[in-house]
Subunit: 256 residues, 2 copies
Amino acid sequence: MSATLLPLPGIPDVKPGDDLPRLITRGLETAGLALRDGDVIAVAQKIVSKAEGRQVALDTVIPTAEAEALAEETGKDPRLVTLILQESRSVVRKRAGQPGVIVVEHLRGWVHANAGIDQSNIELGAEGASALLLPEDPDRSAAELRGALEAAHGVRLGVLINDSFGRAWRVGTCGIALGASGLEALKDLRGAEDRYGRRLEVSVVGLADELAAAASLMMGQAAEGTPVVLLRGFPGVLGDGAAADLIRPAAEDLFR
Amino acid sequence: MSATLLPLPGIPDVKPGDDLPRLITRGLETAGLALRDGDVIAVAQKIVSKAEGRQVALDTVIPTAEAEALAEETGKDPRLVTLILQESRSVVRKRAGQPGVIVVEHLRGWVHANAGIDQSNIELGAEGASALLLPEDPDRSAAELRGALEAAHGVRLGVLINDSFGRAWRVGTCGIALGASGLEALKDLRGAEDRYGRRLEVSVVGLADELAAAASLMMGQAAEGTPVVLLRGFPGVLGDGAAADLIRPAAEDLFR
């Protein structure tokens, strides 16, 4: 029993309206791979957002007064901060600085920096720059992708949309599941027994996050980016969970 | 380019003083695998702790008054809570309940529940029960394991000791790197360019944690446990980092 991660070659620069299932299918063909029952397709958030037209030209954003103040405090573009606040329920933490930090609770419940808005292409005050928002509903995006891929290939799949989040207490980002479909996103092992026949006390595993972290290792972050990875042979991962299952409700959270 | 995860078969129940490099070598032989340059061996914290004799018989623990009070509040065994407090610098959060929650800052800097002490075999007040503490210095344990395996097999390796931590904001545990040797534990991509030639702004990746999450998927948590996994073909992972690099200093942390 082993598992394999296969990055798909030749996924081109994605544009609004692009047909991701078709691009993925072409990538599979280029690699000479046929999908099998139980395979998981991991797709980088960036290309899902791009295909869904979530790019916003910063020139079209009129900064709010609140955003102007927070932008000044954190050394960020006020148009970007306007978008961050629009995408968020609340600011969970901020730290002044050049650059500073803005950690928010996103409209969909994620706690993360900058509402997940990609900044790699935003220079302070630059003209013609654009920001990339997260997909509107990544679980829905994952379900649609899965439906299209399952229909095209005649197999039962899991689909994962992964992003990189910073963490409390630990340095460095880690891949997490932003959207998921067909996966046991949260694996509840309570009641299972360990190898000595004792009941496991605390054992709810964020399985979709572990899969996302694994996929992230193969996607690369920079020039070598391969935004789609086929995960094959991971045991017990298919199910009917969603990535929203992995968001801890604010009322149960000790850290916001 | 693909990567593979291969759980090693036949690793027996580990006892204090057991020679892990020898058990791992035997597992490799059983699987018919020869180590190659660039391979990473991931080992579950539990078997490292056991081999290092970190099991404590609860009958030998005399509860402190502070532990008695916290045990009462959180529905835990006062002897266990005594060990948790001994292993910690401070209690970061607690929540009353039966069971409640104790989140600490461990002596080595990790922020996690119960100082990482395994509770799967502890029943409240039971006689003859024992607790399993984390290895004293997991980075040192990883370095020793690596030295022995590299010498025995004549290859350049990475070694990872992984554990499962709960997270702020997200439900479910996720594999993290408790110890590491020979790995670029924290991958700094700042200054690298993305595929459009733009400089990446925020891109320090917790690579060793992503590897640990991937390994964790193959280890299982319950009866099917396979505590050693060979990771092969992950790009750009060898280096000279340690898992301690992944611990965010308290002074830089917004969430404790």
